[in-house]
Symmetry: C2
């Protein structure tokens, strides 16, 4: 019996992940390859092509791919499938990725921003399933967000909406990689959490983090902060508390503007914050003008490492 | 010939405005009445009823009302037409306003948050006409916002989305009336602008504002700040510049999250800022991660004082 499946491709600045995803959102295969992100456009395309071929080679015989979904760092145009000018993928400038791949395989191809795609996978198959309005955020090395209304990615004017990680909550705050000051990404992503912990330890705070980092504060990570906080370290707990304050304030803004039906938390930092979800909810509830912020469910994403592949596949589902 | 028209009712904390609006969004009549916002529910309803009767008495003979639209401070439930618990309207708690008015007149009645309603009037008949995604903000005594997607008010989970005036951009900022710190309303509404100017003058700054306020800094208004800035007063210009910085930062957040097709500016403060719209755009363009923020049109609202009546009527249009 023929079984619908989709090829999902997740392009990053240094690697490509690709796999086969079934119609229930199960990631059946998952492989990783290097990405040549800063060579010419053909080399970049060849890397994507290799990943697709490798994924296709692993599919079961009864699985007939209905299409290829690709997620990539933006900016890109999800309607035309053109990659515009991502800083992390200098190989492509106004590059018609969807057309190039589609011609090669004679299959429909969709291209989407990675956080939007992951949001769609959560709404369709994951923790956001059954909700009309889904606000998804992936908190990790950066903070990505995606908005799903009634099963459809909210794109805005040109497809570059949903950049909630670059909402600023402090005009005098640290400068984000995007150039703006005080983006939540610059305040509460993994590197930002690590940096705040490093500063405290460098300033002389006594903490388990020092020994966990082998005596070198520069190697403290957000993961270590989570471990140390769970083990009762007061400095790490302070850093977690500050992070919850920042994320709670930011999420209160999201709730007051969008009042989503559900908030889906993904990414490594979100995983670390799972024990503190009630604290986070208390913070945003205290800040919202919305009368029922504490009734908004907050759930942990279904997809972790495979969010990109599942998201890419969801574009064709 | 029968001509479609709608009764629009705009309930505020101290007054009710009511009028007749035609199918092109022309406000044909406009009257004001006192609102008894803090007596019992029947007295509040009677005040609304008087305003409706007065509006109906002024309609032309050929105009047959198709319904009654009412806008009110929230929170309220736009689906059921129930007023929940607005601080400025203590007369009503879980009050089924739409049902009560509808039974009296045997006409469809819709109830909506005032900024959402005004946003709809702009999208349907005003400065946002022809755009899919409209972000409307009314900057005056407070900062209200409304989001229109494809001609429909975006309501969120329970109808209380779109509270963009309570997006915070400074967790250490001044406390807003809503209780949160650093809401854009607490930073850049008319009273916030006046307060910043008053502080400068009290601190000894030499400014025309002192004489404009008759020597009493406490009576400086945002309107005076606009006048003085236009006349070249350096202190007033500083206050305007700070206001543009704050609004530009806030709007960069809106653009990065929603990437609207158009931004519609209404309210007295927005009118004061019309000469500075290019400066405002420069500020948000500098802050956005969105690649084309400078291409988003920003337009001045069609409706001023009549925004509430037109908005209420738009609910039935």
């Amino acid at each position: 019996m023929s079984q619908g499946c989709v090829v999902g491709v997740d392009i990053g600045g240094t690697k490509i992940a690709a796999g086969i995803v079934d119609s229930q959102g199960q990631v059946l295969t998952h492989q990783r390859f290097p990405m040549v992100a800063h060579s010419g456009p053909d080399a970049g395309l060849a890397a994507v092509e290799s990943a697709i071929q490798a994924a296709l080679a692993k599919k079961s015989p009864g699985c007939h791919p209905r299409g290829i979904g690709i997620c990539s760092p933006g900016p890109l145009d999800p309607n035309s499938g053109v990659i515009i000018n991502p800083p992390n993928l200098s190989c492509w400038r106004d590059f018609p990725l969807a057309d190039k791949v589609s011609k090669k395989h004679d299959l429909p191809v969709k291209v989407e921003n990675d956080a939007n795609a992951a949001a769609l996978a959560e709404a369709r198959w994951g923790a956001g399933r059954g909700y009309h309005n889904v606000f998804y955020t992936c908190i990790g090395t950066g903070i990505g967000t995606g908005i799903i209304f009634d099963g459809v990615i909210y794109h805005g004017r040109t497809g570059t909406a949903g950049e909630g990680g670059h909402m600023g909550i402090d005009p005098a705050g640290p400068r984000c990689g995007c150039g703006k000051r005080g983006c939540i990404e610059a305040l509460a992503s993994g590197p930002a959490i690590a940096r705040r912990a490093q500063q405290k330890v460098r300033a002389g705070a006594v903490s388990k983090l020092t020994s966990m980092a082998g005596g070198d504060p520069a190697t403290i990570t957000s993961y270590m902060v989570g471990q140390a906080a769970a083990a009762g370290d007061a400095i790490a707990q302070d850093v977690v508390k500050e992070t919850l304050d920042l994320l709670g304030y930011w999420l209160s803004n999201i709730i007051d503007l969008l009042e989503p039906d559900v908030i889906v938390l993904g990414g490594g930092v979100a995983t670390m914050l799972v024990p503190y979800i009630d604290d986070l909810r208390r913070r945003w509830s205290g800040a919202c003008v919305n009368p029922w912020p504490d009734r908004i469910p907050v759930v942990v994403a279904r997809y972790g490492e495979e969010a990109g592949i599942a998201g890419a596949a969801a574009l064709l589902a």
